[in-house]
């Protein structure tokens, strides 16, 4: 029996992957449907010399991992909608202070305490626009266990590469679903290490002076270099500044370091897209239903394809536009009122050919639900 084959929940896969990526610190406050992540971290992290802290709330959870990350340790927290709402202030701080960290949001039905034990995908826009002020952010998602593993590792990698918080947006359905996972051998997925400064002790280190390539080498806080970290606009030393040139330079840097690399950050899967007449675009648990329908219809000769998005933000505009070009019509499948639909319509040349198949009652959208929408669009009646 292969020991790397496991039959576990999506939340547990996220933990396995975070450990694979080298996590050393987790702080969190348990909340359904993300609780298993905190639970597993509490038992696993101490065994590898890491630290687990149960905090008093989600605000302090994110603050704690920001601090831990600054001291040089890969850090993560996990929550769901209500907790993610509380994290927004600290999330903005992590964006501004350029702190690499991973925040998992296992979505449930919202708003407010909503539907704790049911699935929803209503937090897509919140991950992008939840915090105040202009910024850019990386948001990844996945629909099956193998991809949850990969995307969790990618989240840590992107966080280090771009010195930014990365949000891993899962949902109750995939978080609680049990299925097979073949845990990759160490070394099979490349890991990005913390980029540390080569500046020696006693020589000036500029914590916020980007290199040519936009990356900022870090110095472990409390180690040989003393520097300032703030949520205020700051100069290359990290000290507050309202100098318009510095303010302009920093906001451009925060946005550009992500938007200019959107092609490197874009992760997606194409299923039968090449010769498709009709295209589905989906992500997370909804993509499972979409793929079920696509494989089913293909067996009957219908030219249906699926573009599964794994990077939600920055939105992969070019990929979506390209794929939708030759398509008769496209249906976005999601469990909200059309949050990704909006982005797809903005991305394509013919937004009138983009439709929505959604479900907003806490139940997973079914292949039949999607098929019924397709029939209505095609004028076949349900």
């Amino acid at each position: 029996m292969n020991k790397r084959i496991k039959f576990i929940q999506g939340n547990d896969v996220c933990v396995e992957a975070a450990l694979y990526a080298g996590i050393e610190f987790f702080a969190g406050y348990p909340i359904t449907p993300s609780t298993e992540i905190a639970e597993q971290m509490a038992s696993r992290l101490p065994m590898i010399g890491g630290k687990f802290l149960q905090m008093e709330d989600e605000i302090s959870s994110l603050c704690a991992i920001i601090g831990a990350s600054l001291t040089g340790h890969k850090s993560m927290t996990a929550t769901s909608g209500p907790g993610f709402s509380l994290m927004q202030e600290a999330l903005g701080y992590a964006v501004m202070a350029e702190i690499p960290c991973v925040i998992v949001n296992v979505m449930r039905g919202g708003p407010s305490t909503g539907l704790p034990t049911h699935a929803g995908q209503g937090d897509v826009n919140q991950t992008r626009y939840g915090i105040h002020g202009d910024h850019s952010i990386i948001v990844l998602t996945a629909s099956n266990h193998q991809d949850i593993f990969r995307m969790t590792v990618e989240a840590f990698n992107f966080a280090e590469t771009y010195r930014t918080p990365v949000i891993l947006l899962l949902d109750e359905m995939t978080g609680h679903l049990r299925e097979k996972i073949d845990i990759p051998e160490p070394g099979n997925i490349a890991l990005v290490k913390r980029l540390r400064t080569a500046v020696k002790s006693g020589i000036d280190y500029h914590p916020y002076l980007p290199r040519e390539d936009g990356r900022l080498p870090m110095s472990d806080f409390g180690d040989e270099h003393r520097y300032n970290v703030t949520g205020l606009y700051h100069d290359m030393w990290g000290f507050p500044s309202d100098n318009p040139k510095i303010v302009y330079g920093l906001i451009r840097h925060l946005v550009d370091k992500i938007e200019n690399n959107s092609h490197q950050i874009a992760r997606f899967r194409k299923y039968h897209v090449k010769d498709a007449d009709v295209l589905l675009i989906s992500y997370g648990a909804s993509a499972r239903s979409a793929l079920h329908l696509v494989e089913n219809r293909r067996r009957r000769g219908e030219k249906l394809g699926l573009l599964e998005l794994q990077t939600l933000w920055p939105f992969p505009v070019d990929i979506v536009r390209e794929v939708c070009k030759e398509i008769k019509f496209t249906v976005v499948v999601e469990m909200n009122m059309g949050q990704v639909l909006q982005q797809v319509r903005l991305a394509v040349d013919a937004p009138e050919k983009i439709f929505l198949a959604n479900r907003i009652d806490g139940e997973l959208i079914t292949p039949t639900d999607i098929r019924n929408i397709l029939r209505v669009i095609q004028g076949k009646g349900v």
């Binding site: 029996m1 084959i5 496991k6 039959f7 359904t32 704790p116 034990t117 049911h118 359905m173 609680h176 679903l177 049990r178 299925e179 097979k180 499972r288 239903s289 793929l291 079920h292 494989e295 997973l364 079914t366 292949p367 039949t368």
Partner: protein, 182 residues
């Protein structure tokens, strides 16, 4: 093989989700099949209606929910009333003969077994009701081997509970044997 869709239902605390997980995990780890296990429950930990969906197949499984069950297992009357219409025509309906009063309208192969009474008579521990039911489901569906379920129980449960649970599995198998020889 045919895609098998099983729906385990009952009341929170009866262990139907545990039984469903054991079945699906045995299929993946001991029989090299694909399986998914999903569950649905309310905010309450005990007493609420519980269901767990298991799909076992030798091909990739995408949509993880059971909308029409080949095998429907009900351990309470509430669960039976709620889920009976989800059974596929000609499917298999497994119920506890004491806990569920079965309507005759269901178009399915009905297997009513006295799980509760048998467990209370021989093992005297209601906690293994779910494992007795699992033994019966495995015996009647033959989707995984009884030995695989026992190996998994040995792996998952603390040593002191192995023997009772093995007994419960065997009891479930025996109930099916008696039922089929009637």
């Amino acid at each position: 093989m045919e895609k098998s869709r099983l729906l385990f239902s009952g009341s929170g605390g009866q262990g139907v989700i545990t039984a469903a997980i054991l079945m699906a995990e045995a299929a993946v780890r001991y029989e090299s099949l694909n399986a998914v296990q999903a569950q649905s429950y309310g905010a309450e930990a005990r007493g609420g209606a519980t269901r767990s969906d298991v799909i076992i197949w030798d091909q990739p499984i995408y949509f993880p929910r059971v909308t029409q069950a080949n095998v429907l297992i009900c351990l309470t009357q509430t669960a039976f009333n709620k889920y009976q219409e989800m059974i596929r025509p000609g499917g298999l309906l497994v119920t506890d003969s004491r806990l569920v009063k079965n309507s005759r309208k269901v178009d399915a192969r009905k297997i009513e077994l006295p799980f509760y009474d048998a467990v209370m008579d021989t093992i005297k521990k209601p906690v293994v009701l779910n494992i007795c039911m699992l033994g019966a489901v495995v015996a009647v569906t033959k989707l995984v081997r009884i030995a695989s379920i026992k190996s998994l129980i040995a792996e998952r449960f603390a040593q002191e509970f192995h023997e009772t649970n093995f007994q419960a599995v065997d009891l479930g198998v025996e109930l099916v044997r008696q039922f089929q020889s009637k």
